[in-house]
Amino acid sequence: MAGIYLHIPFCKKACHYCNFHFSASTRYINEMAQAIGTEAALRRRYLDEPVATIYFGGGTPSLLSVTSLQMLLQKLRDNFTITNDAEITLEANPDDINVERLHSWKMLGINRLSIGIQSFNDADLSWMNRAHNAYQALQSIVLAQRAGFSNITIDLIYGTPTLTNEQWRRNVQQAIDLNIPHLSCYALTVEPNTALHKMIENKKMPDVDEEKQSQHFELLVRWLKDAGYEHYEISNFAKPGCESRHNSSYWQGKPYLGLGPSAHSFNGTSRQWNVANNALYMQSISRSTVPFEIEHLTPMQQLNEYIMTSLRTRQGISLNHVSAQWSEVDSMALIKGAKRYIMQGNVVFVNNHLQLTRSGKLLADGIAAGLFR
């Protein structure tokens, strides 16, 4: 089973922390949709497997007109085999959500909404430079649920300077109370070349407080566990059976096709990414050429990616899988390398899997690097 990701590179305004590729001018959004549709046709042979998940991400895909969305979904159906029960996710910002659009999205077959809530708190939202306020956040969820979307995920951000432990608790509680089946909760990250990075560098804003972030994370894990959510990936929580199938496929090493500027594709042995420039992308597509760079992964790099991504998940690193896909030697080396982390109490060895403990989850990167071959 494979997945398709469509990158819609437009936003109404720039959030201070965001380093994704987008343009804040939506002038060419329809032309861009056409180009992405064309790319889908050009790359119809990229995937050998049926498509089980489709994901509209961005940017802000909820800015797309219903006509454009319809056209894109039709292009995908024309060019790929899509399973009947495919998970089709649309990322939507609260300020774009209204009853009319929700009904159209439903009609088009979109069956999962990822709503960019970030916070239910106004001070927080304005600090982030989001386009919506707390009222719109709440309203958008209620409307979506009324329109029949039960498979909803929301994004929440913690560890911002404006967010106290108490406000964080209220944010999480609000999500629980709304009976949202899936939550992606991200520690505020200072990415290079963002407004946030510049503000911190110029001392206009304090740097992220690692201790506060760690506390928020630990509280979050406890609250959501008590509320019946599974912590199935470092930043992802779901009620049983409501895990994101699309995102899970990234962590399981399944192939995916990425369409649109800056989108990454992966076929098991190579990864390629389109140019991160809207104009260059459209020009190139108009000449029927996909503008991309590519890297071919050695078996060792593939193994390292598996270690890095699977370690973040609930299942952890499957040594049986490593033995089968790579070698017994690699599997043994992993056990040996994990010993120190097991002694520290950051990793456990269960059913031939290496899994992060609660304390280990905060240190996942260093542990992954330590386990790399």
Partner: protein, 594 residues
């Protein structure tokens, strides 16, 4: 012999020695302009970059003057404090010296100490003021300085510019007229002073010598007096731009000899070459070169030890003043305890290892050679903190002292005094060489020079100070061994031998620096400095709390994998001390404390 002139050039770094030498070679047509590579005498890259001459060389010129052809042997001298013995041997091979002083800078300490050496060797001094064409040339002032110093007449001082060629003819004439021809007996038993040697990977050691008495012929069986070793003179010759073999070299002249010796250790600068069949006496002034500063040199990656050993062996072939023996460190594995002539020499070795042999190394805290006396009356030479006897068995320690000479401008006297007295110096003398040049003489512990002295002197005087030293004696002193502990594990590579009054400050700075350089780990790290069991400084590095990326989706995987792979590579280069991972920069940090 009457037509031979043997001379050297005494100058401070950057005063234009190499440029002047180039002009002399040009004017005597020893080299054509086309062959001219600037600064012919400095032929190592490193020398050219540092602007100093590390190894001395000799070159022969022919100069036609009033119908007579004269043979000039220019013997080049190294230009740094660490090499003063080599300088003294080069001077001993000459009858005259060109004293070269930069018109904009005036006389510097280094120049003066070498000048005194030259006067001690009865050399005829020809003073030259160089760079007279520069803005800021202070000719009358520098003339006064020179007159004060050597008591010559104003008209004996030549004015020149190596850059434009002004005054070069006058210098050549003065060499003929003022420097005496060598004396000696070509029929007497051979006595040739070996003043330098270089290593050539094809020919082996090439030794440079000056014949005082007798004649050295190709094929002679020769003997080095000090080592007692005998060899055949496979080739003798003179040095022009390249080597030029000749059949014999007689009293008064300078040349080179090749005997097939492969190791620089066998040829000692200052030794006398004579004939095995009819030996002459040793020329006075020979000394075994003794290393002054010691430090451990370790490969960055332990597996590279054998490669490093090879490189050290090769390096020593052409630098006999480098000594080394095997050393093992718990922290750094196998390496070498090396002896250097001084700190600059240490830097040069380190850089040559990197450039010529492609070896990146970790150098440990340098120390001087201490004498420790045990309660049982044994004397132990301590070149390494690990050799220090236990406190309970230690009676006393002695440390080496030097006589330091500093020349600077009067306005910096206060700063220099503060610096030197703070470094346990004792002021012996203060005198004005001229109204704008003051000379300060201190007695100081050598170990104080090893740590950050040059840099401090430079910053305290805005660069207007020059420094020279000679070792004098050993004196009893309160030297302690200070250890660094990481989570209670001693890091042997960071131990230092230091005066008790310095220990606390040094320990505190080192702990602070290590706190900066050690990456946070998944547990707390305690950094301690201790003398014996007594902790004198401490810093903590708190455990890393959070090390995890928020997002890891399709577009993030490549970037993140590369980042973590790089991290993993970095970790490989770290050394494990107990449970703490220590990056190599931490070992170098001690050398760079403010």
């Amino acid at each position: 012999m009457k037509q031979i002139r043997n001379f050297c050039i005494i100058a401070h770094i950057d005063h234009g020695k190499s440029t002047l030498a180039d002009r002399l070679l040009e004017h005597t047509k020893t080299i054509g302009e086309r062959d001219m590579m600037n600064q012919v005498l400095d032929d190592m890259d490193l020398e050219r970059e540092k602007g100093i001459t590390i190894k001395s060389h000799a070159i022969q010129m022919q100069y036609l003057h009033n119908g007579t052809t004269y043979i000039f042997n220019l013997i080049d001298t190294p230009g740094h404090v660490d090499f003063s013995y080599e300088v003294s041997r080069a001077l001993a091979a000459c009858e005259g010296a060109l004293l070269l002083v930069d018109a904009t800078q005036g006389i510097q300490a280094q120049t003066i100490s070498n000048l005194y050496l030259a006067i001690d060797n009865d050399l005829e001094i020809i003073p030259i003021i160089n760079k007279i064409d520069m803005d800021g040339a202070k000719i009358p002032e520098v003339q006064d300085q020179i007159i004060d110093l050597i008591g010559c007449k104003e008209d004996e001082i030549l004015l020149a510019s190596g850059k434009t060629g002004i005054g070069i003819e006058a210098i050549l004439e003065a060499i003929v007229k003022r420097i005496p021809a060598p004396t000696g007996n070509t029929e007497a038993p051979l006595q040739a002073l070996m003043f330098d040697s270089v290593f050539n990977s094809f020919r082996g050691i090439i030794a440079y010598f000056r014949v005082f008495n007798g004649t050295l012929k190709k094929g002679d069986k020769i003997k080095f007096v000090a080592t007692g070793e005998e060899y055949f003179a496979d080739e003798v010759g003179v040095l022009k731009l390249g080597m030029q073999p000749v059949n014999e070299i007689s009293a008064g002249n300078v040349g080179y000899i090749i005997t097939g010796i492969k190791n620089a250790k066998e040829v000692k600068v200052g030794d006398t070459i004579t004939l095995a069949s009819n030996p002459g006496e040793m020329i006075k002034g020979f000394e075994e070169v003794k290393p002054m500063v010691f430090a451990g040199i370790f490969p960055v990656v332990t597996e590279d030890f054998e490669e490093l050993r090879d490189s050290m062996d090769k390096l020593q072939l052409n630098d006999a003043s480098l000594t080394y023996e095997l050393e093992t460190s718990q922290a750094l594995g196998f390496g070498f305890r090396c002896g250097f002539l001084g700190l600059l020499h240490m830097e040069i070795i380190q850089e040559r290892l990197e450039r010529e042999f492609n070896q990146t190394v970790i150098t440990t805290v340098p120390n001087v050679s201490f004498h420790a006396y045990t309660t049982r009356g044994e004397k132990i030479i301590v070149n390494n903190p690990a050799q220090m006897p236990e406190l309970t068995k230690l009676d006393r320690i002695e440390e080496p002292y030097i006589r330091a000479q500093i020349i600077s401008l009067p306005e910096y006297i206060g700063n220099i005094m503060t610096l030197c007295l703070g470094k346990r110096g004792i002021l012996l003398n203060q005198s004005y060489l001229t109204t704008t040049r003051v000379e300060l003489i201190f007695e100081m512990p050598l170990t104080e020079i090893v740590f950050d002295f040059y840099d401090k002197l430079k910053s305290q005087t805005r660069g207007y100070a020059s420094f020279d030293y000679t070792p004098i004696d050993y004196r009893e002193s309160d030297i302690v061994k200070m250890d660094i502990l990481l989570n209670s594990e001693k890091v042997d590579a960071l131990s230092a031998l230091i005066h008790r009054s310095r220990a606390q400050d040094f320990g505190r700075k080192l702990c602070e620096k290590l706190k900066e350089l050690l990456p946070r780990q998944q547990f707390q790290i305690a950094i301690q400095a201790a003398i014996g069991a007594k902790v004198i400084a401490r810093e903590n590095i708190s455990a890393m709390r959070k090390d995890v990326t928020a997002k890891c989706y399709g577009g993030d995987i490549s970037r993140k994998r590369k980042l973590l792979e790089k991290q993993k590579e970095g970790k490989k280069r770290m050394r494990q001390i107990g449970n703490v991972e220590v990056p190599q920069e931490a070992f170098l940090a001690v050398l760079k404390l403010d």
